[in-house]
């Protein structure tokens, strides 16, 4: 099955897709920003400060999603000895890290008007900070170690250890006393957020997902060309 996803088969798609993804991203982001900043209503308690949710929540969701994929592909590269999996993980990490930083910074900005503080050692904030450290270790490992086999092993271990933190982030608000509220958007049960806020949140999440796809494709192409450059040296 994996032979259909080999780099020489999918490069035709990955090298041409970024311009279309960028175009789609700009359109979806423009709609999302109009909805989030102008059309969506203010909250009866938080007033306009609630609009920060439209960047904070999607960024947090996507950084968690990307780290889970990172761990999944790392397990895959361990089990199937498939180097393309580690290449995919490496290409996913930069956007995951940026989304993690965005979630932390926008969360801090949101914290000031709602909780009266920029930072608190709350379970969810602390576990998100730990996730950012795992992302940082993962990215640094690719820069520091030159031995290909060794770096794949090290980065896979970092990703697999780091993913233990993902359910901790998700359930931290239920397990410990937290400044954060429990989840308002649920896939399997009722969502407590009103449609007028759920729609912009969904559009912004789609825009952020498109951006991470764009960065992934560009980074993946860069890594493949890097490999091809080494191949030309060996000719």
């Amino acid at each position: 099955m994996f032979k259909y996803f080999e780099p020489n088969k999918i490069f035709v798609i990955t090298s041409r897709a970024p311009k279309y993804v960028l175009f789609l991203f700009i359109i979806v982001l423009s709609i999302g920003l109009t909805e989030a900043l102008i059309l969506s209503p203010e909250d009866y308690k938080q007033s306009h400060a609630v609009r920060i949710m439209y960047v904070h929540v999607p960024a947090a969701w996507i950084s968690l999603g990307i780290f889970s994929c990172l761990a999944l592909f790392s397990i895959g590269s361990f089990v199937f000895k498939n180097k393309n999996f580690s290449l995919i993980s490496k290409s996913l990490a930069p956007s995951g890290f940026i989304f993690n930083v965005i979630a932390l910074v926008t969360g801090s900005i949101w914290g000031k008007p709602t909780w009266g503080t920029w930072w608190a050692w709350d379970a969810r904030i602390t576990s998100m900070l730990i996730l950012a450290l795992f992302y940082l270790m993962y990215l640094l490992a690719w820069r520091i170690y030159k031995d290909k086999e060794y770096v794949i092993k090290i980065t896979s271990i970092i990703a697999i250890l780091g993913v233990i933190n993902v359910p901790i982030i998700k359930f931290s608000v239920d397990w410990w006393n937290s400044l954060h509220q429990s989840a308002s958007v649920n896939v399997f049960s009722n969502t407590s957020i009103h449609m007028s806020m759920l729609i912009p949140l969904g559009i912004m999440t789609a825009a952020f997902a498109l951006f991470s796809l764009l960065i992934f494709l560009m980074k993946y192409n860069t890594e493949l060309i890097k490999i091809k450059n080494k191949g030309l040296d060996r000719l």
């Binding site: 989030a36 102008i38 904070h56 930069p94 008007p113 980074k219 860069t222």
Partner: protein
């Protein structure tokens, strides 16, 4: 109307700074990755240009190399 959008009942500085930080981070990451891609593409072109005719023919027979060259020629 514009004043209302900018000030947002006194929360404008928080909302606008959160959105600005997000968009600036996107722009920064996009250009960093774009720069890395362009650098690798030009390295590929210069390496390909220095190959002998025979080696260039072998390199061109690979699908990815052909695709990289066609993408670069479009830029």
């Amino acid at each position: 109307m514009i004043n209302e959008i900018v000030s947002m009942n006194g929360y404008g500085s928080y909302v606008w700074s959160a959105f600005s930080f997000t968009l600036l981070s996107f722009t920064f990451l996009y250009f960093v990755i774009k720069l890395q891609l362009t650098k690798e593409q030009s390295r590929f072109v210069s390496k390909f240009g220095s190959l002998t005719k025979e080696k260039a023919r072998v390199a061109r027979s690979q699908n990815i190399n052909k695709e990289i060259l066609s993408n670069i020629s479009k830029i």
